[in-house]
Each structure stands twice: as structure tokens, then as C-alpha cells.
């Protein structure tokens, strides 16, 4: 998919550049793009390292496991068949708590274990769709990367977007769950 998007962007740049007589600017912009990428990554470096360290400590200190225990009642409601399946439930709990804490490296393996426990054959079950929808709606308590990006760009208070992020994520996740329920019948 990204192959076509990237090629499309470059071809469109060439065409528009030629039409608008801005080909010299387009050539300069190619190199400028890589320079901006370096700047972006350098700007992210300090914050990303610090947050990865903090998150690792939270994981070691058991914050992730505690959160997982607190989430169990919610999870048995969302995934009724996991109520009797201890392994699926613990994978689901680990997945959701890692997502909430922003531990991307831990969330995906746990989510995959949960998906393997929930699956039945080659057709996605409602629960599996629900798991995928919830994982593609980012629900994070502290979106560290974005806040680091804001800090690097010189924001006055990098974390002041948190309430807006929480509410927007919550609405997005609820909308995803609602859509999953409504669309079930249409996709048998």
C-alpha cells in the first residue's frame, strides 16, 4: 500500500512541479525532507529514551499487572467466551494494560496470543473483530511519543493535550465497538 502512496506522491510532485514551474524547488525539497527527518528524530531522542525507561520501570514494578487485574471485569463483559478461558483472559488483560500504558512492544505479542485463543477457524469471530477494533483505536493514558514531539517543537505545555486525547480516544473506541456491533449482521 505504502509503495503506491509513495510513488504517487513523487509522480504528482513531478507533474505539479513541471506545470507550476517549480521543479528547482521540488529538487531541493527532496533533500530537505531527509534533513527534516533527522531533525525530527534528534528532537524525539531525549524524550523517547526517557519515556521508554519510565515505562520499563512501570512494567517491572508491576503497574501493568495491577492494571490488568483491575481490567478483568470489563474484559469478561467485552469477551464473554474468555470468562472460562484463563489463558485468553490473561492475554487480553496484558494486551489492554500494555496499550493503556503505551507499552507497544508488550501489547502486540499479548494481543496476538489473545487473538490465537479467541479464533475459531479461518473466519473472524465477533470477539476477534472486537479485539482488533480495540487495538486499532489507541487508548493510552500518556501518549508519550506525541507529547515528546510537541515538546521538541517548542510547545508551552507539551502535556496539556492529555484530556483532549483521552476523550477523543474514548469516543473513538466506543464508536468502534458500536460499529462492530451494528455491522455484525451485514458481514456474515
Amino acid at each position: 500500500m505504502m509503495d503506491w502512496v509513495w510513488a504517487g506522491l513523487v509522480v504528482a510532485s513531478l507533474m505539479f512541479g513541471a506545470l507550476n514551474g517549480r521543479l528547482p524547488e521540488v529538487s531541493a525539497a527532496a533533500l530537505e525532507g531527509v534533513r527534516k527527518a533527522l531533525d525530527t528524530c534528534l528532537g524525539l531522542c531525549a524524550g523517547l529514551c526517557l519515556w521508554s525507561g519510565i515505562l520499563k520501570l512501570l512494567e517491572t514494578g508491576g503497574a501493568s499487572a495491577l492494571l490488568g487485574r483491575l481490567l478483568r471485569p470489563l474484559l469478561t463483559r467485552l469477551y464473554p467466551e474468555a470468562r472460562r478461558d484463563r489463558e485468553a483472559l490473561s492475554a487480553l488483560a496484558e494486551n489492554m494494560s500494555a496499550n493503556l500504558l503505551g507499552l507497544g512492544n508488550a501489547a502486540t505479542p499479548a494481543g496476538i496470543r489473545a487473538a490465537q485463543a479467541l479464533k475459531k477457524g479461518e473466519t473472524a469471530t465477533d470477539s476477534l473483530c472486537r479485539l482488533v477494533v480495540l487495538n486499532s483505536a489507541s487508548i493510552q493514558l500518556i501518549p508519550a511519543t506525541v507529547c515528546t514531539l510537541r515538546a521538541a517543537a517548542g510547545a508551552q505545555a507539551p502535556f496539556d493535550i492529555l484530556p483532549a486525547v483521552w476523550l477523543a480516544s474514548l469516543c473513538a473506541a466506543l464508536a468502534g465497538l458500536g460499529a462492530e456491533k451494528l455491522l455484525r449482521r451485514a458481514f456474515r
Binding site: S13, C49, V133, L149, A153, A172
Partner: protein, 169 residues
């Protein structure tokens, strides 16, 4: 929110010590992971920004933004975030790159800069997530997972516009 960083750091350190687990090792391991993440995202960020900067310099970005301006205005979303909206479900590091470039250009505390940040924080790389999970579970018929996940993205984008206007308008 000013004490967030030291607060979380203290909490994390105390929770580790109370459980009598090693602290320094995991902390440095985390730093290493941060650096590795950066190493991993640089190539796609660079690739995205190369194409995006050429696209902007050629004038094509203006055309795209002009095209999407009326519908986005109607939805209350800053039109400058149009490229971000389109790339977000496809590429996580690509969207991050566009968000960084937008904040750099228009300012992180501008309405568009804030909306872009909230969008990045409240949505995920939908197509990537869907393909990873279903591939791992060996599922071929994905049924309504993709449409439902895209509805969730759309609502996330809309809410980003709404809540930024509400809190910072």
C-alpha cells in the same frame, strides 16, 4: 500537568523498589529500547518526509488541501491536517513524520498543531494492526473488522477537532 514527569518517575521507581526488583538494569534497558525505536523509525520517517516535502514544494499539497478544505471545514477539522488524516491508517511512522512537520511549520500550540497531536494520540495505524492480528491468528475472512476500525478512526479525527476547539478554542 507540570509535575507529571517527576511524579511518574518517582512512582515508577518506588513501585520497583517495593517489589524488590532490580531498578537500574530495566531503566537502562528502556533507554536502549528508546534509542532502538528511533533507529527503527528514522528510515520510514525520512522516506515520508522526502515525498511529502516534494509534494508540498510542487504546489500539489495546496491543491489537495484546497480540494479537502470545504468538507473538513464542515466537520470542524483544520484543513492543514488533511495529509495526516489520509496517511494515518496506513503508516504509523509516516503519520508521525507529517505531524512533526506540521507542528514545526504551524506551531505546536496552533489549533492545527494541537489537533494533529490529538489525532496522533487517539488513533492507530489501522491497516497495520488489522493485518498483524489476523495474519497471526491465521484468519482469512476479516468480516467487519476493517470497516468498524475505520469508523473508529473517523470518529477519533472528528473528536480531535471538537475537543481541541472545546479546550483551547
Amino acid at each position: 500537568m507540570k509535575g507529571l514527569l517527576p511524579g511518574v518517575l518517582t512512582l515508577a521507581a518506588l513501585s520497583v523498589l517495593l517489589r524488590r526488583r532490580p531498578l537500574y538494569g530495566p531503566l537502562t534497558e528502556g533507554f536502549r529500547e528508546g534509542l532502538l525505536t528511533l533507529w527503527r523509525i528514522f528510515p520510514p520517517v525520512a522516506a515520508t518526509l522526502t515525498a511529502a516535502c516534494m509534494f508540498r514544494a510542487s504546489g500539489a499539497m495546496d491543491a489537495l488541501e484546497a480540494l479537502l478544505r470545504p468538507p473538513l471545514r464542515l466537520l470542524g477539522i483544520p484543513p492543514e491536517t488533511a495529509p495526516l488524516l489520509l496517511l494515518r491508517p496506513l503508516s504509523g511512522s509516516g503519520a508521525l513524520a507529517l505531524g512533526a512537520e506540521l507542528m514545526e511549520r504551524l506551531g505546536p500550540d496552533s489549533p492545527a498543531g494541537r489537533t494533529a497531536a490529538v489525532m496522533l494520540g487517539s488513533t492507530e495505524t489501522t491497516f497495520y494492526t488489522v493485518s498483524v492480528y489476523f495474519a497471526a491468528a491465521g484468519v482469512r475472512r476479516t468480516r467487519h473488522a476493517i470497516p468498524a476500525a475505520l469508523v473508529s478512526d473517523l470518529v477519533g479525527f472528528l473528536c480531535a477537532g471538537i475537543f481541541v476547539r472545546l479546550f483551547f478554542g
